[in-house]
Symmetry: C2
Subunit: 480 residues, 2 copies
């Protein structure tokens, strides 16, 4: 008999037909009712054991966590909670799970904290919550590729090990093949990088943008989707040392086109999971309601998870210039009453997360695209506006998570770019190839970066970013 997935049986199984499944025991009631799950979907398949046919010894070996092979006949269920169930004809224990040992793990049938689940990240995907989160993460990834491929973008893998720091923030991890106990030195007592694997200092990428730009200027429309790294010592619920980023880059595209792309893209991928992951989303929606039920009413979300997603896909993102945003912030209550940690006093201030959240959650009550930021708080590659003081930057801000997208129109003018690099003390020699692209058929072009885990957070309603990636990396945390 061919094995069938539980997802298939629950959605398309035929009554009176025989099926064979391989799956794990999620619960075992009354020595009779087995709830089986194989990871293909959230819901379990109830399998009914004819207890009289098996001796006590055998039944005792069936525990939560066991892997079983079951053959049986599908029938309509008498009990509540499921439409169909399987009458077991044969049952085989493939892999045991000692009940005493299970009790010590998060597989045991009681409520475990998310912190506890993180400590057993190798098992947490077997829980309902993490099964749902990771299936959603997978579907969202696919939606990303599907969107860009349908829109004729070429997927580009930019290098992970580089010797440049795209953002210039200096928060890169060093990559080396040296024995750290005995670093080779030069005559001048400097590190002798010539002897290292790559013959020069190497680090992990913070962004594939600069390389993606070189490809957009040949292929027209490209996107990356790969891991990026920040050696930043921040222990927050929004930061990871290793995270996945999506970076489209488009030739012959200005900032307006870039905003259109970001909005269209985000709406597409959210629509995609609304269509393909209803069951998992409904489960996570209930989870969030339970989680928030312990909070005071005013701290709970106004919308349910699915309402929030549908709100995003069916409303325009509000586009606001930085200058307008500063005016709003200067005049707003929390600023006047000094409730903000950072009081906005004048144009030029860098916006903090508290200001972004105020704009999105209190003032506009919808996703917001801020654009045209002061040049001196943004990166060297952003296009200078005619006012000579703002750049064509944009950030997309989302309720609950703040900045989800950061992008810009790129400075395509050779002289302006080189001037800017001089001002910001960026090494022109290191980035000769980047500058070179402005010599040969330069053109206006734009792109953005979207932190994939922030998107997964938004879609799943998980409040800690460590709970939307299989094995999170954060300061002092490299488990698994």
């Amino acid at each position: 008999m061919e094995k069938t997935s539980i997802k298939h049986i629950l959605s398309q199984g035929k009554i009176s037909e025989d099926y064979e499944i391989n799956a794990w025991v999620k619960s075992f009631r009354n020595n009779m009712f087995l709830a089986m799950n194989d990871g293909s979907c959230l819901n379990n398949l109830q399998c009914v054991l004819p207890t009289e046919k098996y001796n006590e010894e055998f039944i005792k070996t069936i525990n939560i966590g066991c892997a079983l092979n079951i053959q049986g006949t599908l029938k309509e269920s008498q009990g509540k909670g499921q439409r169909v169930e399987v009458d077991i004809k044969t049952i085989k224990i493939l892999g045991k799970a000692d009940s005493e040992e299970v009790r010590k793990t998060i597989l045991s049938p009681k409520k475990h904290s998310l912190e506890k689940l993180r400590e057993q990240a190798h098992l947490r995907v077997r829980t309902n919550t993490f099964g749902a989160v990771m299936r959603l993460r997978s579907k969202l990834s696919f939606a990303v590729h599907q969107y860009f491929q349908t829109e004729s973008f070429q997927y580009v893998t930019t290098p992970i090990i580089t010797n440049s720091d795209a953002e210039g923030a200096g928060e890169t991890f060093r990559v080396t093949n040296f024995d750290l106990k005995a670093i080779p030195k030069t005559d001048k007592n400097e590190v002798n990088f010539k002897q290292d694997f790559f013959g020069k200092p190497a680090n992990l990428t913070v962004s594939g943008q600069l390389e993606a730009e070189t490809y957009a200027l040949g292929l027209g429309k490209v996107y990356t989707f790969g891991p990026t790294f920040r050696a930043e010592n921040s222990n927050t619920t929004r930061h990871l040392s290793e995270f996945w980023m999506i970076e489209p880059e488009v030739a012959f595209c200005n900032l307006e086109g870039n905003m259109d792309l970001a909005e269209d893209f985000i709406k597409y991928v959210i629509d995609y999971v609304l269509e393909h992951c209803k069951e998992d989303l409904e489960f996570l929606e209930q989870r969030l309601i339970k989680e928030e039920s312990t909070l005071p009413k005013q701290q709970r979300s106004e919308m349910s998870l699915i309402e929030k997603l549908e709100f995003v896909t069916s409303n325009n993102f509000k586009r606001v210039s930085y200058t307008e945003a500063i005016e709003i912030l200067k005049r707003c209550k929390p600023n006047k009453k000094k409730k903000f940690n950072f009081i906005i006093e004048e144009w030029g201030a860098d916006l903090q997360s508290e200001h972004e959240r105020f704009l999105v959650e209190k003032h506009f009550k919808c996703p917001v695209i801020l654009y045209d930021y002061p040049a001196n708080i943004k990166a060297f590659y952003m296009r200078l506006n005619e006012d000579n003081k703002t750049v064509r930057a944009m950030d997309v801000l989302f309720p609950g998570i703040g900045e989800i997208v950061g992008g810009s129109q790129r400075e395509e003018r050779l002289e302006v770019l080189v001037d800017k690099m001089k001002t910001l003390k960026r090494d022109e020699k290191e980035l000769w190839w980047y500058i070179d692209t402005r010599r040969f058929g330069t053109c206006e072009h734009s792109g953005f970066g979207l932190g994939f885990e922030r998107l997964v957070q938004f879609v799943t309603g998980m409040s800690n970013i460590r709970d939307v990636i299989p094995y999170p990396r954060t300061p002092k945390n490299l488990d698994f």
Copy 2:
């Protein structure tokens, strides 16, 4: 007017309609015929300049490499070589390209060696060859996701920074946040990793398999597709220090199922590009014929590129046990005549690339799956056969490139796994979480790793692996 891609105009453009394009000049004949390309496809769009309407000064600024905006009317072409062309109504220079400077680059219209192109990797995607290779690479990537998602696999991103070495080969890059000039030491003069970013030694992953296994044992069927790293000092046409790997992992699946999956998967993705990338493949086929025309006849490929791809998708891969392969090799001519560098004398020998190529290219003349290798030449996690001397390993060998897939059924039995780790001196404490999965509902499961760049090499016919990834990383090479 809305801008249209050249791909769209060439495939679906309507005669007498007006179009607007943004693209780069590939050639400019007789001050009149512009071959324009925007990266959307291989072929150029011919645009005809009414020379009489423009002064010499202006025409002189139009060079190869320039970015232009052109509006004009589509008409049937009088000339040879193209079906349609555009009568230019307006033309705007968006980005210049100085002809003297172009002459110094690979954009200049003459034959450049692949080595030369590598030195200007930021520009090479603008050539026909690299445009075709990178479009194929993009489509192949998408086919990978499409295959697994259609087959209900969940995409899993396994960590890039780890503190384990899955293969145990010790060829990992170190990741650190230390200032290499001043490494903190302990009292015992050891490196004080507690003070490093993660609080312990960290390295770049060589494989996501072990983490993928933990996910397969919850979600059932998973796959990874991400970068992996080898700090191996090999300067060959088949090795990169940073490459992308695809690693499916399937619960309740034995080695036969694993072989079926590998074969089905490879055939699917090749079929996909045969269907979607005909034009680029035909171009690369011609390129290969030209490249091989300088070789003596017996060194040229017997099949053309597309014939070779179709051969793979329409024939069964030959499945041969390691033991059978050794018998064939012991008896074969090059072994008897000592033409091999490594003479096969007895069972247990590790196969070299020369042996694999003999089996694939001379003996079987088709893709080969070798399986059931001696345990002592394979990794600790492979399932021991009943003979106690072979393991359920498999390698898929391809003509021209050798090993493209390496996989195995995994050792699911707790005691056998732990014994094996002891024998091979693998640290049980480090891999506690991996071993743990064998305690809770273990089951037979299998998976494999496919080096993505080797697949791209096979599909594009490019002989050097550095030419199928945008910015290759190899020993002493970290440019761009």
